[in-house]
């Protein structure tokens, strides 16, 4: 880090450190507990009261969205200042004050494509965590072929009328508003799509959770039946939504790349450490199952290679180098790695990894097979691995489309 070179940055670091010391509650410096994760919005319950305090304090400074302009509630920090803020947050092991699709995906595209009025209306509530957003992209007939979406949006003079169905809408039952791809022209494919925002409490909206093989329901089927949406809630050009949709997917994928699907639960030791307990070791400390041992080494290497790649990309991007080529592989690699990691966790835990609920298993053991099952979706959601390979082949390697 080059601070020490710039006195203003040194001062910013000192002030930030002092502010965090004073304002980050002690319990927010302990490892994240799954059900204390703050997503914000009208339905947020703040299971840990400190998390409310922490969010309010951070939001007041605009530090939930550190680089967004102050005019929209953001922190107005430069890249360098934000880097220092992130380092200082990491230093005290602070939990994220807010997790949000609004911060990660919608906000960046609103900053780029929305009009002034829309920015004023939507961005500050994202920063404060007042509104929780969900993503209305996939439909029963439009998965990998997203642009084939059919949700109809008609111009009724003083409002839009929306009819149709979305699926795999993450947390639609928890969200307050939706950013939604709708069809405003049925005569064209990509050029007939618009980007629309509306309230999930509008009449005619219904979200039904889908129970997954992992037992949880992070996704919903979402139905729109004659939903009336104000005219000024369309972002960008009419029929110009596909460009925004793609840009948002870039943010979604780069968010995945920053964290990886396999964001290890805080405080969980590496799998090879846990393996010693479950598999046993010989006198020299080697795992008793030599085949598993080598495959665990392979996994640890893949994990390291992935983390180095993300770090390399971040560093090169910071230095202003083009990293699109590297970024394209990260979603694909992240899915593969997390599936391998979660599968091997279940295998390593043996019988203890095979409990579904109740007595006889620790929480971590019970979570292992849910994580393995949940991870099957990693190569489907946010673009299947096959679609990602198509994208790499065509856009990065420049290989031609097959004819006929």
């Amino acid at each position: 880090m080059a601070d020490g070179m710039d006195p203003t940055l040194d001062q910013f670091r000192a002030e930030t450190r002092a502010w965090l010391e004073e304002n980050c509650p002690a319990s927010m410096r302990t490892p994240q507990v799954e059900d204390e994760t703050v997503w914000g919005g009208r339905k947020e319950k703040f299971k840990n009261p400190d998390s409310k305090l922490w969010l309010e304090r951070m939001a007041a400074k605009g530090w939930t969205a550190p680089t967004w302009p102050k005019a929209y509630g953001g922190g107005g920090l430069t890249k360098e200042e934000n880097l220092i803020l992130q380092q200082e947050l990491k230093r005290i092991k602070a939990r994220p004050a807010l997790n949000s699709f609004g911060l990660w995906m919608l906000g960046p595209v609103l900053l780029e494509y929305a009009n002034e009025e829309q920015k004023q209306k939507f961005l500050p509530d994202i920063v404060k965590g007042k509104i929780r957003w969900c993503q209305g992209y996939s439909e029963p007939g439009a998965g990998s072929d997203l642009a084939g979406l059919q949700t109809k949006c008609e111009d009724k003079g003083d409002h839009w009328l929306v009819n149709g169905q979305k699926v795999w809408t993450s947390y639609a039952d928890q969200a307050d508003w939706i950013f939604c791809l709708v069809r405003t022209d049925t005569s064209k494919k990509h050029e007939g799509i618009s980007f629309l925002l509306f309230d999930m409490e509008s009449e005619g909206v219904e979200a039904r959770p889908i129970k997954l093989i992992s037992g949880s329901s992070p996704f919903c089927e979402t139905f729109f039946n004659d939903v009336k949406v104000p005219k000024d809630h369309l972002v960008g050009r009419l029929n110009g939504g596909w460009e925004i949709a793609k840009r948002l997917l870039q943010y979604e994928r780069s968010n995945i790349s920053a964290t990886g699907f396999g964001a290890d639960r805080a405080g969980t030791p590496p799998l090879y450490e846990r393996a010693k307990e479950y598999v046993g070791t010989d006198a020299s400390g080697k795992l008793l199952d030599p085949d598993l041992r080598m495959r665990l080494a392979d996994l640890a290497m893949d994990d390291k290679a992935f983390k180095l790649t993300v770090a390399r990309m971040a560093e090169q991007s910071k230095a202003g180098e083009e990293v699109g080529h590297t970024a394209s592989i990260v979603k694909y690699a992240a899915a593969k790695l997390n599936q391998k990691k979660t599968e091997m966790t279940v295998e390593t835990l043996g019988y203890q990894g095979l409990g579904w609920e109740g007595e006889g298993f620790t929480d971590l053991e019970l979570a292992s097979n849910k994580a393995m099952l949940r991870a099957k979706a990693n190569s489907i959601e946010g673009g299947t691995s096959e679609v990602n390979l198509n994208v790499i082949a065509k856009r990065v390697l420049g290989l031609k489309e097959h004819k006929g």
Binding site: E273, L296, A311, N388, A393, E401, H402
Partner: protein
């Protein structure tokens, strides 16, 4: 971590790429192969010396530029791209490291300036059997008359068929398999009792087997600690492993580019074969592996320059990943080229042949996975 090259490192990289593609191209390699050079190319090596590449890791006081491992890695990667046969890895990376890490002032001032000027080459002789096993040294070194007498054999010594100076691991105590009791010795090529058998190898780079029959080494030519040489040896090998990984990365990228080009020119069923999804996906997977291996190699080179304590782990990571990558890419290169890739006339064969040798050099994927596990305490 330094993943971003400095301006000077970029200049070195470009100079190396230009040099390799102009002077040590695949066409040149083929000519050498056809002439039966067995990897010996003193004229080109002289030109490399003029570029100053033998001194990249040599301290300035001994005539080098002390430019660092990240820089050296760029030259080795460029060399890997054209499969060039040179003493750079074995001498400028491995030999120089041995002296810098283990040499006395006298040894350094005698040997390093000669290396930096390109006057002598070195070879590290460790393995005695079919697989890389650095502790499995049986060659004996008996104390005698103020020096040592070495007896035993070494196999498949890279650059051993021409090196001027050997760095040899022998045993002053204990038995094969012990890490204690290993000592490194410097033995000049022209030494009584040393028999060198030149090998013709798969990659056309050549190598040598050594027989030592009562070779006398003065105490002054012991490199590092008597009996405690394994740690030094392993550190030197780690530098070789990281250098070999950089070469394998260059080799893999070049083989991939060759294949990528072919996918965009060869037509079957009235279409470019690169438009077939089965080939597109495999090309994309190779690209993904290249990107991730590049991160590992760059990370390992940076670990050396930063003097970090995880060099051994990073070396095993880089060498295992690069070996795996080269294996994958060279196989796919032949498969995607079809019949033409099987012909001697095509370069695909050169890539797979060189890859198999460097994959095994200083330990292959399996060796390094095992070592990685041990280093992480499982």
């Amino acid at each position: 971590m330094t993943f971003v090259l400095t301006e000077e490192q970029n200049m070195l990289k470009e100079a190396a790429q230009d040099f390799m593609s102009e002077r040590l191209s695949l066409t040149h390699f083929r000519k050498q192969r056809n002439a039966g050079a067995n990897g010996k190319d003193p004229e080109s090596w002289g030109a490399m010396a003029e570029m100053g590449w033998y001194g990249v890791l040599v301290p300035e006081e001994f005539g080098g530029s002390e430019f660092g491992y990240v820089g050296m890695g760029q030259v080795l990667e460029a060399q890997g791209r054209t499969l060039a046969s040179s003493p750079l890895l074995q001498t400028a990376m491995v030999g120089v490291s041995a002296l810098v890490l283990g040499g006395t002032e006298a040894q350094k001032s005698t040997v390093l300036p000669k290396i930096a000027e390109g006057k002598i080459t070195t070879a590290l002789a460790v393995d005695e059997h079919a697989h890389h096993a650095p502790a499995n040294v049986a060659m004996t070194a008996e104390a005698a008359g103020g020096g040592y007498t070495l007896t035993g054999k070494k196999v498949f010594v890279p650059n051993g068929h021409f090196a001027d100076l050997f760095i040899i691991a022998a045993r002053t105590s204990g038995s094969a398999g012990d890490t204690d009791g290993i000592t490194l010795f410097m033995v000049p090529r022209e030494t009584d009792g040393l028999t060198i058998s030149e090998l013709s190898t798969l990659d056309y780079h050549g190598a040598a087997n050594l027989e030592l029959n009562g070779v006398v080494v003065p105490a002054a030519d012991v490199l590092g600690e008597v009996g405690g040489g394994f740690a030094l040896l392993d550190s030197v090998l780690d530098r070789g492993r990281i250098g070999a990984a950089a070469e394998l990365l260059g080799l893999s990228v070049a083989a991939f580019e060759l294949t990528h080009e072919y996918l965009q020119t060869r037509k079957q069923f009235g279409q470019l074969i690169g438009s077939f999804q089965s080939l597109q996906h495999r090309a994309a997977i190779m690209f993904s592996e290249i990107e991730q291996t590049r991160s590992c190699v760059a990370g390992a080179l940076a670990a050396l320059d930063e003097g970090r304590d995880d060099v051994a782990q990073m070396a095993s990571l880089a060498k295992a990943k690069a070996s795996h990558l080269a294996h994958l890419v060279t196989n796919e290169t032949i498969q995607m080229h079809g019949g033409i890739g099987m012909t001697d006339e095509h370069d695909a064969g050169f890539f797979i042949k060189r890859a198999r040798v460097v994959e095994a050099m200083f330990g292959g994927e399996g060796f390094h996975k095992e070592r990685f596990a041990s280093l992480h305490g499982f």
